[in-house]
Amino acid sequence: MVRDNSSSELVGYFSIKAGLISLNEHEEIVVDSITGKETRKTVFDTLPGVELANFAVNDSYIKKYPENKGVGLIIFRSFIMPIIQEAAKSIGIKILYLFALPYQDLISRYKSYGFSRLDDPYEDQLHSRLKPSYDESCKFMYQRL
């Protein structure tokens, strides 16, 4: 939780968790770098990352202090990113990602924080894998670290 240091009011909160993107196990021909011998192996590719699982700014705080609108960017750069950058030194995380509710203003804000979206066909395929069509899909957004 992030609090205002003069009034102790709640400004916002966030939570992060370790995660990954992974492919199904599949077979690949692996070449031994010393002998040059080719062998067929089952491989499991992953892209380790950190998920920004929750992130919100307190509406009431912004209504009370409208001049603080945009404080989410300060929370993101001054509180969230230092934790992630410190973690990246000791564990092999490559990306920061989140699942944004499908609201255009929210997605635009995350873009201004440096997040990108996948191309449309991939987003559509991700949604159709496991979710019924009447569910709305959150948008996977990511940035490289």
Binding site: L23, D45, Y122, L126, L130, D135, F140, R144
Partner: protein, 64 residues
């Protein structure tokens, strides 16, 4: 009765090979964000907020 909208997170694990490789490629070929620019925006915003706070506090003090 209206049905409430349900939101689901796409599953990013056990991706089928072709989709997964395409997603990996897109992610790994995306340039890193321009952190200097984003930090400059954050600093400018922080400065603006602190100035507005000082102004508000000064008005509060002078009203007493």
């Amino acid at each position: 009765m209206a049905t409430p909208t349900r939101f689901g997170k796409p599953c990013m694990t056990n991706l089928p090979k072709e989709l997964g490789i395409a997603i990996f490629k897109q992610i790994l070929s995306t340039p890193k964000p321009d952190y200097e620019k984003i930090d400059a925006e954050a600093k400018a915003l922080e400065k603006k907020i602190l100035e507005a706070r000082q102004k508000r506090n000064a008005q509060g003090n002078s009203a007493r």
